[in-house]
């Protein structure tokens, strides 16, 4: 809890900065756009259609789409600007729609009176039409505000710190307090903002300027706090070069990022974490140099980035992946950390015995239900497994990886696509089925360093000892410390434990 509170100021101010910034820009674009198109039926229809279509894109997908777009446009695809852009686009529909509705609802007699009094079209808009439409427009702004604050929690996977960091990390490490803190803070922020905007609206409707200005000022102060609030504070020495360490959204990644961060700090670097990134996003970040170092898996690069559908032995995959990342992105692969985190088809021991399964081959034709993480059933591995072993599952269900293990343990599904370095395989007494046809590609955990960072020999020297230093048993134990329900440890504690083990093993091995 204390650790959470330490992050709260950063995450909250970043969230305010992001959501209020997006809202302000959204208002700044949407109201003038609506005013401009209001008199033209076709344009009106066109603009409304466009903002409506944007709304139908799932928020997470819209955020993720911004990454390649920003990489193409600016070279950098992570963090504040892509997240802000997606949120601005998202905020537009309610504001545009309500501005158009509000303007259309102004009494035609009043508009004609304005013209007859000698108002120019601009004066009529500014002095009569917009003020009369203001309550309706503000209602739209309130809707947009609540949406934006809520959706901003999804900015975490594109590398923008926000209250979503609590939620994403909490979900992955089963730290429900963290999830709750994130949700409660986002909800509180939305309620406060909505109430203040409600005050502005009431002030406008009842023509009570003091109320209007008091609420507007409170919102401005809030935004000011967001802008002025603590930005990411790199850990480590006060001066020295800053490194950005990336991590995807699961426990092992958080722990490894913490281990790498600690090693770099000891070597005199200031370290900034960029966590809970989408799997595709994190590699983009490394390629564009926004992330300096992170751990990926050879099979992931092989299948997702190199688009390879065949498979090969671990050493060949590792060599080809290393060559490919260097040649296409200048990224340096320092080597395997010493363990593999592959997909493994896992079953509860009693179920496996009941079906008589020790390898995937034994599932041929069996009507078993299979659970996978979000990606699994879309990945080439699944196609390969299914066709190689002629699987005919009765059902396939996607889970958040946290809940996937619960699902197999409680018998909701028979088989899951477990991760072989996950501590819960042992904890839940699961059996990983053999892959006699060797269709599941190797997934060695590899240490990747960006093109720029790889020029730094001191950094490479500091990181190299990590290569080959973690075996799968160590990684499973560290993962389980965080993932288990009893005697739960924080990511930092697990990382400290792992570093200690690396150190003692290194000495005894020498």
């Amino acid at each position: 809890m204390n650790e959470l509170l330490l992050d709260l100021d950063q995450n909250l101010t970043a969230h305010i900065r992001l959501s209020l910034g997006a809202l302000a820009i959204g208002i700044g674009i949407s109201i003038p756009a609506a005013v401009f198109v209001a008199p033209h039926a076709r344009l009106r229809y066109g603009v409304l259609s466009v903002v409506s279509v944007i709304q139908t894109i799932p928020a997470l997908a819209l955020l993720a789409l911004m990454v390649p777009i920003f990489v193409a446009l600016t070279g950098d695809g992570l963090g504040f600007w892509p997240a802000l852009t997606a949120l601005v686009l998202y905020s537009m529909l309610p504001i545009v729609r309500n501005t158009l509705t509000g303007l259309a609802g102004v009494d035609a007699d009043v508009i004609e009176a304005a013209r007859a009094m000698g108002m120019t079209p601009v004066q009529s808009m500014l002095r009569v039409r917009l003020p009369l439409a203001a309550p309706v427009i503000l209602a739209g702004v309130r809707t947009a505000a609540v949406w934006t604050v809520g959706i901003a929690t999804l900015a975490t996977p594109v590398g923008q710190r926000c209250l979503g960091n609590f939620i994403f990390t909490g979900l992955q490490t089963q730290n429900w307090t963290s999830v709750l803190v994130g949700c409660a803070a986002a909800a509180a922020l939305a309620i406060v903002l909505d109430t203040l905007l409600g005050g502005v609206e009431l002030g406008l409707r009842r023509r009570r300027p003091p109320l209007l200005w008091a609420c507007a000022a409170a919102i401005a102060v809030m935004f000011g706090v967001g802008l002025g609030g603590p930005y990411a504070k790199p850990a480590g020495p006060v001066s020295g070069p800053t490194l950005v360490v990336g991590a995807k959204t699961f426990t092992e990644q958080y722990i490894l990022a913490d281990v790498i961060g600690g090693v770099c700090e000891d070597a005199g670097y200031r370290v900034e974490g960029m966590e809970s990134l989408g799997s595709a996003v994190v590699f983009e970040g490394l390629a564009s140099g926004e992330i300096d170092v992170y751990v990926d898996y050879s099979g992931t690069i092989w299948a997702n980035h190199m688009k390879r559908t065949d498979t090969a032995d671990a050493q060949t995959v590792l060599d080809e992946v290393s060559r490919w990342v260097r040649e296409t992105h200048g990224v340096v692969c320092l080597g395997s950390l010493g363990f593999e985190n592959a997909y493994g088809m896992a079953m509860r021991r009693d179920r496996a015995e009941a079906v008589g399964a020790t390898s995937i081959d034994d599932l041929r034709g069996e009507p078993v239900s299979i659970g996978g993480d979000y990606e699994f059933f879309e990945r080439p591995e699944w196609d390969a497994i299914r066709s190689a072993y002629s699987l005919t599952p009765s059902e396939t269900i996607s889970y958040d990886s946290t809940f996937m293990y619960e699902a197999v343990a409680t018998g909701q599904v028979d088989v899951i696509s477990a991760f072989t370095s996950d501590g819960r395989i042992a904890a839940f007494d699961l059996v990983v089925l053999d892959d006699p046809r060797g269709v599941i590609p190797p997934y060695d955990a590899v240490l990747l360093v960006s093109a720029d960072a790889s020029q730094d020999e001191d950094l490479i020297e500091a990181l190299r000892p990590l290569v080959g230093s973690i075996d799968v048993e160590m990684m499973r134990e560290a993962n389980l410390m965080v993932d288990r329900d009893e005697d739960k440890r924080s990511v930092a504690e697990a990382a400290a434990w792992l570093r200690e083990r690396i150190a003692t093993d290194g000495e005894s091995g020498r």
């Binding site: 007699d109 009176a113 007859a116 009094m117 000698g118 108002m119």
Partner: protein, 270 residues
């Protein structure tokens, strides 16, 4: 009261020459080959049934709509060559539906045109109070009220004050007393006539009520289907209606008067 300057000048003459307004091609025009001259200082009443083109005629005079053909002169100048915004600010316009701005107070409504013309605050305020008094509303009581806190008659008064704010020489009034009860209406008829004289205006007022036209107009122009079918002072029209339509319109007030006289003489016979 109104600027003394106003009283020195007679209002500006209004002249329509062969004005036609056709909203829809091939349909009969709303206003058809209309000729009319309103000399400075006159209050001309345009009278006719609903849909005969009265509002269309008024709106063309301050260029809210542009005639299909013909020429309109205000103060001797062709308004087609005037800047429409400036023209409208120099002409007071009172609406059929009043059209007060609901988001502005009574005082702010009256001050709209002075504000647009960038008068100083103090001058606008003094003018507002003066006009509220002119239309019989106590400034201290009404200045800061919202339009929806007024009765129909009070709203009409504010509409009249607003039209007069920037000391126009010309007033266009579209059924300004339309939806009022008879007593308020009679009072306001007298006041409007007084204001017209006091401010030295040239006015065109639209009504569909012959009695009102007879009470208020220097001259009455009777319209039918976009044309003038009778034009003259009330006395002239009564003496020689000319057109049967005018005759028919005069029948109602005549009957009322006869009935009243009969009642006053103690008889009850019809």
């Amino acid at each position: 009261m109104a600027d003394p300057a106003d009283q020195d000048h007679a209002g500006a003459a209004i002249e329509l020459r062969g004005v036609t307004m056709r909203y829809v091609q091939d349909a009969p025009p709303a206003v058809d080959q209309f000729d009319l001259r309103v000399p400075p200082g006159e209050l001309l009443v345009l009278l006719g049934e609903s849909g005969c083109g009265k509002t269309t005629t008024l709106k063309m005079i301050n260029r809210l709509i542009e005639p299909t053909s013909g020429t309109i002169l205000v103060g001797g100048r062709d308004i087609a060559e005037a800047d429409p915004v400036g023209l409208r600010r120099s002409i007071g316009y009172v609406f059929q539906g009043v059209g007060l701005f609901p988001h502005l107070t009574v005082g702010e409504n009256v001050g709209v045109v002075p504000h647009l013309m960038r008068w100083e605050r103090g001058r606008t305020r003094a003018r507002t109070d003066e006009l509220l008094e002119l239309v019989g509303l106590d400034p201290a009581t009404f200045r800061d009220r919202d339009p929806d806190e007024l009765s129909g008659g009070q709203r009409q008064r504010v509409g009249i004050a607003r039209a007069l704010a920037a000391t126009p020489k010309t007033m266009l009034m579209d059924e300004p007393l339309g939806a009022l009860d008879p007593i308020t209406r009679a009072t306001l008829q007298d006041e409007l006539r007084r204001i017209h004289d006091q401010c030295g205006l040239t006015s065109v007022m639209v009504t569909h009520d012959m009695t009102e036209a007879l009470m208020m107009g220097d001259r009455i122009g009777v319209m039918k289907a976009g044309r003038i079918v009778g034009l003259g002072t009330p006395a002239e029209l009564l003496a020689d209606p000319g057109d049967p339509y005018v005759e028919r319109l005069l029948a109602t007030p005549r009957r009322e008067v006869r009935r009243l006289e009969a009642l006053e003489q103690g008889g009850g016979a019809r």
